[in-house]
C-alpha cells in the first residue's frame, strides 16, 4: 500500500515539476495542479494510513486515538485544497491578462528569441 502511494506521489510530482519548467503558461498551470495533488497526498500520508477508520468519533465515552486516522493532516490538507483552487484561479487570471497584453502565452510574455 505504502509503496503504491509513494510511487503515486512521485509520479504526480515528476509530472508537475516537468510541467512547471515548460514555457507555455497553460502547461505551468496544469503542472501546479498536479504538484498540489502530490503535495496534498504527501502531507496527508504523514498521518496514519488507516483504511476504513475515519476520524469521526462516537458521542462521549473513552476513545482510543490509535483506532482512528490522524485528523491533523486532514485538516491541513482540507484548507490547502481550497487555497490551491484560489491560487489556480489567480494564476489563470494572470495568464489571461498576460496573454491579452503581450499577445503570447509564453511565460515570459515574449517568444524565445532565436
Amino acid at each position: 500500500m505504502e509503496i503504491i502511494l509513494s510511487a503515486a506521489i512521485g509520479i504526480l510530482a515528476t509530472s508537475g515539476i516537468w510541467l512547471l519548467l515548460r514555457p507555455r503558461s497553460f502547461q505551468v498551470i496544469i503542472g501546479l495542479c498536479l504538484l498540489s495533488y502530490a503535495v496534498n497526498l504527501f502531507i496527508f500520508s504523514m498521518g496514519r494510513l488507516a483504511p476504513g477508520r475515519p476520524p469521526i468519533m462516537p458521542k462521549g465515552g473513552f476513545v482510543d486515538p490509535s483506532n482512528y486516522a490522524d485528523p491533523l493532516p486532514q485538516a491541513l490538507v482540507l484548507t490547502a485544497i481550497v487555497i490551491s483552487f484560489a491560487t489556480t484561479a489567480l494564476f489563470l487570471v494572470v495568464l489571461i491578462a498576460s496573454r491579452g497584453m503581450t499577445g503570447t502565452d509564453h511565460v515570459d510574455g515574449k517568444e524565445r528569441s532565436q
Binding site: E2, L5, A8, I9, L12, R22, L34, L49, V93
Partner: protein, 978 residues
C-alpha cells in the same frame, strides 16, 4: 491618575484631531485652522496645569502596558526639560497655524495641510514625552515620514518632491541607526525605560559596545539636526510651504536631534570620544553653515544655512557638556526657535507680498513695509547676537563656555577661535539680510507691488519679536527659572542654578562679541558688492556641493549598482528562475537528509490491495498524459488532470478521509470549469511550433525531465520513509480525544477547523477573500487579446437555431438542479460538525449551484433572474467569522473561543449548536462568495468580448454607411456638375 490621563490626552490629542481634520471637506480651511489652533491651545493649557507638579516632583509618568514580554510599554514621561520643549513646540505651533491660515489663504487641500501639521506636532511631542526609548524611536521615525509629506506638500513641483525625498532618506536612515543604537543601549542597561537608561551612564560608558552605540546614536542625532556632512537636506527642504519651514526648522524636526543630544548627554557624554565627535561636529557645522549662508541669494536659503549654523552651536554646547553648557544649550534652543520662526515667517511675508525671495532683486523694503521691516530687523539682530536681544545672551554664554578650560585638548584650546569665526560670519550674513532687503533704493522690478500684509499674518511675527526683546531685556524674570528646572531635569537635581545677566562687566565673552561684530561688519562691507554677482557659495568651495555628491551616491546605490548586479546574476525569464528554485529545493533537501534519512527496521506496512494499485495505474497514466499533452492538446490535458484529481479523491476515500474526498471532488469540479473558461482566451495551437523540433529545445526538455525525475523520486522516497516509520504520539491524538468534550462535535477534522485551530482557518479564508478580490480586480482591467475577440469557430459553424436548442435537455436538468444543490449544500453544512461536510464543502457546493445556472443558460439570462452579490457574501462571511471570534471577548474568553451544546429541535431532533457553527457560517459564506466571484469574473469576459464584437460591427456598419453616403453625395455632386 487624573494627571496620567491628562498626559495621555496631551500625547494623543493631536493625532485624534488630525484624523478628524481629514474628514473635513477640502475647502474648509477656516474650520481646519480653528480646530488645529484649539487643539494645540488645549495642549498648552494641559502643560501649564502641570507646571506646579513638575516644579515640585521633578517628573510625571504615565504608563500603558503594550507588550510587557518585550519590555515595551507606552510610557509617557514629562520632566522640566521636556515640559519646556513641548511648550515651545506647541506655542510656536499655534503661531504657525495662525500664520498659515492667512499665508495659505485660497490654497487647496488645507484640511490635509493642517492635519499633517497636527500629526507632525503629535509625533514631535511624542519624541519629547515618551518615557521608553523604543517608543521614542517610533515617534522619531514618524516625524521623518510626516515631514516628508509636509515638505512635499506642493507635490506638483519637482523641487518639493526632491527635497522631500532627500529629507526622508537622510533622516529615516539616521532613524534606523538610532533604533539600533537604542537596542544596543537597551541590551546594555537591561531596560528600555528612559529613566533607567539615563541613570545608567557609567554602565553604558564602560560597555564594550559603547563605541558602536555612540556612533549609531550620533548618526541618528546628526542627520536629524542637519549636522555636517548631512546638512544638505535642510536647504532642499525649503521647497516646503513657508509655514512648514518656519515650524520644522525652528522649534521642531531639526531640534529633535539636539534634544536627543542634550537628553542623553548624561548617558553617553563625559568621554573624550563624545567631546571630539559632538563638539567637533558642532563647531564645523557652525562655521560651514555660517559661511555658506553669507553667499546664498535666496532668503530662505540664507535662513536655512543660518539654521544649520545655529544647530551646530547647540550641538557644540551639548558636546562640551557640564551644567553651564547644557543650560546654555537649552537657552539657545529656545532663543533660536523664537527668532528663527519669526524670520522664516517674515521671509514668507516678503515672498507673499513681493513675489520673490531673491535678495538680488529685493531692496528698500523699509519704505513700503515699515512694520514688517522693523520686526525682521530686530529678529535678524537677535540672530546676529546683538545686545539687549535674546540671541545675545545665549551667545555670550556660548562664548563663556568656549573660553573656559575643559580638558586641555587641542580642540578645547581651539574652541574660542572657532566660536569667533562662526559668529563673525553670523554677523556678516545677518547684516547682508538686513541691509540688502530693507535698505537701499526701492526696488522697481518686483513681480508684485509690495505693501504691508494682512495684520493677522503679521501677528505671530510680532509676538515672537516681542518675546525676543522681553527675554533679551528681562531674562531673569522670564526664562531663567524654567531653564533651571529644565537643566536640573537633564543633569540631576543637584545641578547648580545658573543666572542670566545682561551685563557681566568687561570680560572675555564680551570682548569676543565685540570682535565678532566688528570683523563681521568688515567682512560684510568688503563682500557686499561681489557676493550678489557671484555663485551661491564661498569661493572655490561652491564647486563642491554635498547635495550633488549625495545625488551621485544615490544614483549609484539605488540605480546603477543594483542594475549591474542584476545584469550579472539575475534574469527576468521565469523558466530559469523556476529551474533554480526546483534545483535549489532538491539540493537543500538532499543536504538536509544526507545520511539522516533512515528507513525503519520494522517497516509499518498495510497489505497492498490490487484494486488500489490498478487505480493508481490509471492515475499515473492520467498525470503523465496531462504532462505530455498540455502543450498542444490543452483540452485533453485538462480531462486527464481531472482524472488524476479523481484518483486523488478516491485515495482520500480509501484512507478514511471523507472530508477531504468531498472537498477534493467539489473543488475538482470548479477547477475544471475555471480552466475550461480560461481555455477560450489562449491562442490556437494546431501546428507544431517549429522551434520545438530543434536540437536545443530537445536538450532543454531532456534536462528538465532529468530534474523532474530526480525531484519526483526524491519526494517518493521521503514519503515512503516517513509512511513506514513507527508511529509517534502527536497532537492529533489529543484532538481525537478531546474533540467531543471540548469542541462538541464528532467530526474531528471539522472541529479542528472551526474550533481548535479556528484562528488558522480565519487566516485562510482571509487569503481566499484577498485572492477573490484580486482576481476580480485584475479582470476589471483586462482587455482580451484581439484575436480572441472573434466568435469561436464552433459557434460560427452552428446557426442561431441550433444554438437555442444547444444541450437543451442537460440545461433543463441543470436548471432543476438548483434547489437540489442548495439542499445538498445545506445538508453538508449542518452535518459538518458531526459527519463529513462543513463550511468549506457547503460553500463550494453552493458555488457550483450558481455555476450550473450560468452553464445551463447564459450570463444575461441568469443575471436577469438571480441577484448574485458575491462581494457582499464575502464581506458577510468575514464579518461573521470575526464577529464570532470577538463574541468570545464579551464572555471574557480569548478571541475565537467556541462554546458547544446540542439543541433539541422539533421534528429534526438533536442538532449540534456550537458557536463554532456561526464561525462555519462565515466560512461558508466566504468560500461561496469568493468562488462565485472568481468564476463569474472570468465568465463575464465572454460578455465583454461579445460586447466588443458588437461594437466593432456597429462601427463597421456606421463606417460603411458613411462611406456610402459620401459616395452618393459625390455622385450627386458629379451629376450636378454634369
Amino acid at each position: 491618575m487624573a494627571e496620567q490621563n491628562l498626559l495621555s490626552i496631551l500625547a494623543f490629542l493631536p493625532f485624534v484631531a488630525s484624523l478628524a481634520l481629514l474628514s473635513l471637506s477640502h475647502n474648509a480651511h477656516r474650520a481646519a485652522a480653528w480646530v488645529s489652533g484649539l487643539t494645540l491651545a488645549a495642549g498648552v493649557a494641559i502643560l501649564l496645569g502641570f507646571r506646579q507638579t513638575i516644579a515640585t516632583h521633578g517628573s510625571l509618568r504615565g504608563n500603558i502596558e503594550w507588550v510587557p514580554s518585550l519590555g515595551l510599554d507606552i510610557t509617557l514621561r514629562l520632566d522640566g526639560f521636556s515640559w519646556l520643549f513641548t511648550l515651545l513646540v506647541l506655542c510656536i505651533g499655534i503661531l504657525v497655524v495662525i500664520y498659515a491660515r492667512y499665508y495659505m489663504e485660497g490654497q487647496d487641500r488645507m484640511p490635509r495641510f493642517f492635519a499633517l501639521l497636527l500629526a507632525f506636532t503629535g509625533a514631535m511631542q511624542g519624541i519629547l514625552i515618551s518615557g521608553n526609548i523604543l517608543i521614542m524611536v517610533v515617534f522619531w521615525e514618524l516625524t521623518s515620514i510626516i515631514s516628508f509629506l509636509l515638505i512635499g506638500f506642493w507635490h506638483q513641483s519637482g523641487a518639493a518632491r526632491d527635497g522631500a525625498r532627500t529629507a526622508l532618506m537622510i533622516t529615516a536612515l539616521g532613524g534606523l541607526c538610532l533604533l539600533v543604537a537604542m537596542l544596543i543601549v537597551g541590551n546594555i542597561v537591561g531596560s528600555y525605560d528612559l529613566e533607567t537608561v539615563l541613570a545608567s551612564g557609567d554602565l553604558i560608558r564602560q560597555s564594550d559596545l559603547y563605541g558602536a552605540a555612540l556612533t549609531l546614536f550620533l548618526l541618528g542625532a546628526f542627520t536629524k539636526s542637519a549636522q555636517f556632512p548631512f546638512h544638505f537636506w535642510l536647504p532642499g527642504a525649503m521647497a516646503a510651504p513657508t509655514p512648514v519651514s518656519a515650524y520644522l526648522h525652528s522649534a521642531t524636526m531639526v531640534k529633535a536631534g539636539v534634544f536627543l543630544l542634550v537628553r542623553f548627554s548624561p548617558a553617553f557624554g563625559g568621554t573624550e570620544a563624545w567631546f571630539y565627535a559632538v563638539a567637533g561636529t558642532g563647531m564645523i557645522t557652525m562655521i560651514v553653515g555660517a559661511v555658506i549662508a553669507l553667499f546664498r541669494h535666496d532668503l530662505k536659503g540664507l535662513l536655512a544655512y543660518s539654521t544649520i549654523s545655529h544647530l551646530g552651536l547647540i550641538t557644540a554646547l551639548a558636546g562640551i557638556g557640564g551644567p553651564m553648557a547644557i543650560f546654555a544649550a537649552i537657552f539657545h534652543i529656545c532663543n533660536h526657535a523664537i527668532f528663527k520662526a519669526s524670520l522664516f515667517m517674515t521671509a514668507g511675508i516678503i515672498d507673499h507680498e513681493t513675489g520673490t525671495r531673491d535678495m538680488r532683486k529685493l531692496s528698500g523694503l523699509i519704505r513700503v513695509m515699515p512694520i514688517t521691516s522693523v520686526l525682521a530687523i530686530t529678529a535678524a539682530a537677535s540672530m546676529a547676537g546683538m545686545p539687549l536681544l535674546n540671541g545675545f545672551l545665549s551667545k555670550e554664554m556660548f562664548f563663556a563656555e568656549a573660553v573656559d578650560w575643559h580638558n586641555g585638548t587641542w580642540l578645547d584650546n581651539a574652541l574660542p577661535y572657532l566660536a569667533v569665526i562662526g559668529s563673525t560670519f553670523s554677523v556678516a550674513y545677518s547684516l547682508r539680510f538686513i541691509v540688502t532687503v530693507f535698505f537701499g533704493p526701492t526696488a522697481t522690478d518686483l513681480p508684485q507691488t509690495p505693501h504691508e500684509p494682512t495684520p493677522w499674518m503679521r501677528r505671530p511675527v510680532e509676538m515672537l519679536v516681542l518675546l525676543c526683546v522681553v527675554i533679551g531685556i528681562l531674562p531673569a524674570l522670564t526664562l531663567e527659572p524654567i531653564l533651571n528646572v529644565a537643566a536640573q531635569a537633564v543633569l540631576g537635581p543637584n545641578t547648580p542654578e545658573a543666572h542670566i545677566a545682561i551685563w557681566h562687566g568687561v570680560n572675555a565673552p564680551l570682548l569676543l562679541s565685540v570682535v565678532a561684530i566688528v570683523v563681521g561688519t568688515f567682512i560684510f562691507l568688503t563682500t557686499a558688492r561681489t557676493v550678489p554677482n557671484g555663485p551661491e557659495g564661498p569661493p572655490l568651495f561652491h564647486m563642491i556641493r554635498a547635495q550633488k555628491i549625495y545625488d551621485w551616491l544615490q544614483l549609484q546605490i539605488s540605480w546603477r549598482w543594483p542594475r549591474s548586479v542584476f545584469r550579472r546574476i539575475g534574469t527576468e525569464e521565469l523558466q530559469p528562475q523556476l529551474r533554480i528554485l526546483v534545483m535549489a529545493s532538491v539540493l537543500f533537501a538532499t543536504a538536509a537528509l544526507w545520511r539522516n534519512l533512515h528507513f525503519a527496521q520494522d517497516l509499518r506496512l498495510n497489505t497492498p490491495s490490487p484494486a488500489f494499485g490498478l487505480m493508481w495505474l490509471v492515475g499515473a497514466a492520467c498525470a503523465i498524459g496531462a504532462a505530455w499533452q498540455a502543450k498542444y492538446h490543452r483540452f485533453a490535458a485538462l480531462v486527464l488532470l481531472g482524472g488524476a484529481g479523481l484518483i486523488t479523491c478516491l485515495t482520500f476515500v480509501w484512507f478514511a478521509a471523507p472530508d477531504l474526498a468531498v472537498t477534493q471532488l467539489l473543488v475538482e469540479v470548479v477547477t475544471t470549469v475555471l480552466l475550461l473558461l480560461g481555455l477560450r482566451w489562449l491562442p490556437k495551437r494546431r501546428e507544431e511550433i517549429v522551434e520545438d523540433t530543434l536540437r536545443p529545445a530537445k536538450i532543454r526538455r531532456f534536462r528538465d525531465l532529468v530534474i523532474a525525475v530526480i525531484g519526483g523520486s526524491g519526494i517518493a522516497v521521503i514519503a515512503y520513509a516517513l509512511m513506514t516509520r513507527p508511529l509517534v504520539p502527536n497532537v492529533g491524538d489529543w484532538f481525537l480525544g478531546n474533540a467531543y468534550y471540548e469542541g462538541g462535535g464528532t467530526n474531528v477534522v471539522n472541529v479542528i477547523l472551526v474550533d481548535f485551530r479556528a484562528f488558522d482557518t480565519f487566516g485562510e479564508i482571509g487569503v481566499l477573500a484577498i485572492v477573490g478580490l484580486t482576481v476580480y480586480g485584475l479582470l476589471r482591467r483586462f482587455r482580451p487579446s484581439a484575436e480572441s475577440v472573434e466568435q469561436p469557430e464552433q459557434q460560427k459553424i452552428t446557426t442561431q437555431e441550433h444554438l437555442t436548442d444547444y444541450l437543451y435537455v442537460p440545461s433543463v436538468i441543470m436548471l432543476w438542479m438548483f434547489p437540489l444543490l442548495i439542499m445538498v449544500s445545506a445538508y453538508f453544512f449542518f452535518r459538518g460538525h458531526d459527519l463529513p461536510g462543513g463550511g468549506f464543502a457547503a460553500g463550494v457546493t453552493m458555488a457550483i449551484a450558481f455555476l450550473l445556472q450560468y452553464l445551463a443558460t447564459n450570463v444575461r439570462w441568469v443575471e436577469a433572474r438571480i441577484t448574485v452579490l458575491p462581494i457582499r457574501w464575502m464581506g458577510f462571511g468575514l464579518l461573521m467569522a470575526a464577529g464570532t471570534g470577538i463574541g468570545a471577548w464579551i464572555f471574557g474568553y480569548p478571541f475565537l473561543t467556541a462554546y458547544a451544546q446540542y439543541v433539541n429541535l422539533p421534528v429534526i431532533g438533536q442538532v449540534p449548536a456550537a458557536t463554532a457553527m456561526l464561525f462555519d457560517v462565515g466560512v461558508f459564506a466566504l468560500v461561496m462568495g469568493a468562488t462565485v466571484l472568481m468564476l463569474i469574473a472570468i465568465a463575464h469576459q465572454s460578455l465583454r468580448a461579445s460586447r466588443l464584437r458588437e461594437q466593432d460591427e456597429e462601427d463597421r456598419a456606421a463606417k460603411a454607411k458613411k462611406a456610402a453616403l459620401a459616395e452618393e453625395g459625390a455622385k450627386a455632386g458629379m451629376k450636378e456638375t454634369a
